[in-house]
Amino acid sequence: MTERVRITHPRTTAARSVPPRPPTREIDELTVLGELYLESLLRSQRRIAFGVCAATIGLLVTVAVAVSAWDVVGRITVFGIQLPWVLVGCAIYPALGAIGYVAVRLAERNERAFAALMHQR
């Protein structure tokens, strides 16, 4: 038979005076961690966003320059309409829509990857 031992903490009041875990601490930790991830999310989303803008500007400028070569392009006709009118009046719109579609796809894929990364943690 072993002797019965009473285990107590000698400095009861001191132990109690340790402040309880602050409820905001989880949030702060998450924010610090989140900021690391944020930087990568922000960078990849920024690349998509400005890439889409560059593609849009590129499309508009290309078409504008192309139709300014009127002597060449103006002679071509599509269904009896001169090509520049077809390009700027109609054909440019589906191209804008296609850029938009790609933009939505890329941004959503990025977000899914980010969410998966955060949940893996």
Binding site: I27, L30, G34, L38, C53, V67, V88, L96, G100
Partner: protein, 508 residues
């Protein structure tokens, strides 16, 4: 029946439709959230139709055809810019702005920078842009009623004011969501049916288009405007970048439930606008052939209205004319009500704010709506020196010169400070505002000065960006301490919001 009766019937139908949709919403609008943002539960398809319905204003419905008739090829860039603006908005601001959870642009500025002066400057700019955009809507309404029905020149604008106030004050944004979505289809039908009929009539005549045109009209940069290359580029820039700063467009994206849906909404909007914008161009080309006397005159804005009767005299032309008139009224009503809600929202929150009780706030919102539309109505009576589309273009330019840099830097750059943002907003606002005033009030300038003032975006937008960036770098110590938390909130998908800290400084 006389043509007047048909046109009046058309206008009356659209008016009744708008008021009915408004009172339908009244039964359901219960909270401030209902009034401002339809409690954020609108699906992308509905919202895209509503955004398009709200966006297709007098400038799109009437103005573009008049410009194409007068100036020819270069004006095709107007609708391209109007559409491309949504692509830029989709890429740069749609989802982050929705995730910010703010109702208005001033709310966003406050949330991101925590600064009262930036917030108040943004509020002032929202009101100015809204009024600048409302004036041509009301002028378009007056023009339509006097051209089609022979009404006095103040009547059309007044009718729009009254109907908008009834619809807005009774139902707020929720009623407007339904009304706006319907208005898109009304506007599309009102141009599509006449376009098909007139196209068939033209085909039957074996006429050649564009008819006896001078070669400049068909060609790029041949419009006869001074410095056409600069003017075209600056215009495209203003419209592309200004779309994201239009208060009535932005507030509508807040009605989507989450950021992903706002992107999808913007994408559908691009599709809907692409379909619609085929039609004003067609009317402009036909107008150039059959209404050549309108070129350059004040009535050029009425091309769409006058064309059916000119091409098809008799009852068919009258009926089509009435249909187009009704569609035009749908355009004025939808855009004007959207603008009125946004301006009234900002006025009631930031200018006369500070009320706690809900019923008081809603009453305040209603009286703010009266002010929001009465001021531009009075201004619209003064008469216009520029065409509808050009005036709307100036509103876009003001938005591009101020809110575009604020939004782009605020969403994508950690380093933006309140001082930098304020300096940029004030400088961009003052320069663009001066350019707008000079263009509207003085007789047309010749040479580069006039061109730079009439198309100010190309030189003011880069300047505003530069001032905001340099100002922020100089005052680097003032970068908000919670910038990381705000940016997480803006960019992280909503599916993770449970994991994320809530923002201490909520929008409202």
């Amino acid at each position: 029946m006389t043509p007047d009766v048909w046109a009046i019937t058309g206008v009356a139908l659209v008016t009744v439709l708008t008021v009915a949709a408004g009172s339908l919403g009244m039964r359901r609008a219960r909270t401030t959230g209902d009034f401002y943002v339809a409690s954020r539960a609108v699906t992308p398809r509905w919202n895209a139709a509503a955004v398009s319905g709200e966006y297709l204003s007098a400038a799109s419905f009437l103005g573009i055809a008049g410009l194409v008739l007068t100036y020819g090829f270069d004006m095709l860039w107007y609708p391209v810019g109007y559409t491309a603006g949504y692509l830029v908005l989709l890429a740069l601001v749609a989802a982050p702005l929705r995730r910010s959870g703010a109702y208005t642009l001033p709310d966003f500025a406050h949330l991101r920078l925590g600064s009262g002066p930036v917030r108040r400057t943004s509020s002032l700019l929202v009101v100015l842009i809204g009024w600048l955009y409302l004036v041509p809507q009301l002028q378009g309404a007056s023009l339509t009623l006097s051209a089609q029905v022979g009404a006095p020149r103040w009547a059309g604008g007044l009718l729009v004011c009254v109907v908008v106030l009834i619809a807005v004050a009774s139902g707020g944004m929720r009623s407007i969501t339904f009304a706006q979505a319907v208005q898109y289809w009304v506007k599309l039908t009102a141009l599509l049916i006449p376009a098909v009929v007139l196209g068939t009539a033209w085909h039957a005549r074996h006429d050649r288009l564009p008819g006896p045109a001078h070669t400049g009209w068909v060609q790029p940069l041949g419009s006869g405007v001074e410095h056409p290359l600069y003017a075209t580029l600056s215009l495209i820039l203003a419209i592309c970048l200004g779309t994201m700063g239009l208060p009535h467009v932005l507030v509508r994206f807040y009605t989507n439930p989450d950021g992903r849906d706002t992107r999808r909404t913007a994408l559908i909007v691009i599709g809907l606008l692409s379909v619609f914008y085929q039609l004003p161009t067609l009317f402009g080309v036909f107008g150039h052939r059959y209404l050549p006397d309108l070129a350059g005159s004040r009535l050029a804005d009425a091309t769409v209205l006058l064309l059916p009767e000119r091409m098809l005299p008799g009852l068919p032309g009258q009926l089509l004319g009435a249909l187009v008139t009704a569609g035009a009224f749908a355009a004025f009503l939808s855009t004007a009500s959207g603008l009125t809600v946004s301006v009234a929202g900002v006025l009631s929150q930031d200018v006369w704010g500070g009320l706690r009780r809900r019923d008081e706030r809603i009453r305040r919102f209603r009286s703010a709506a009266v002010v929001s539309i009465a001021v531009p109505y009075v201004l619209s009576l003064a008469g216009a020196r520029v065409s509808l589309a050009a005036m709307v273009g100036l509103a876009f330019a003001l938005a591009a010169c101020t809110f575009c840099p604020l939004l782009v830097l605020g969403i994508w750059w950690r380093g933006l400070t309140d001082v930098g943002a304020l300096a940029g907003l004030v400088l961009g606002g003052l320069l663009a505002g001066t350019a707008v005033l000079v263009t509207l009030l003085r007789s047309p300038h010749g040479g580069w000065t006039g061109t730079l003032l009439a198309q100010p975006a190309a030189w003011i937008v880069p300047l505003t960006f530069a001032v905001m960036i340099v100002g922020s770098l100089i005052t680097r110590s003032r970068v908000p301490a919670d910038v990381g938390r705000v940016l997480i909130r803006l960019h992280a998908p909503e599916s993770m919001s449970a994991d994320l800290p809530s923002l201490g400084r909520s929008a409202r």
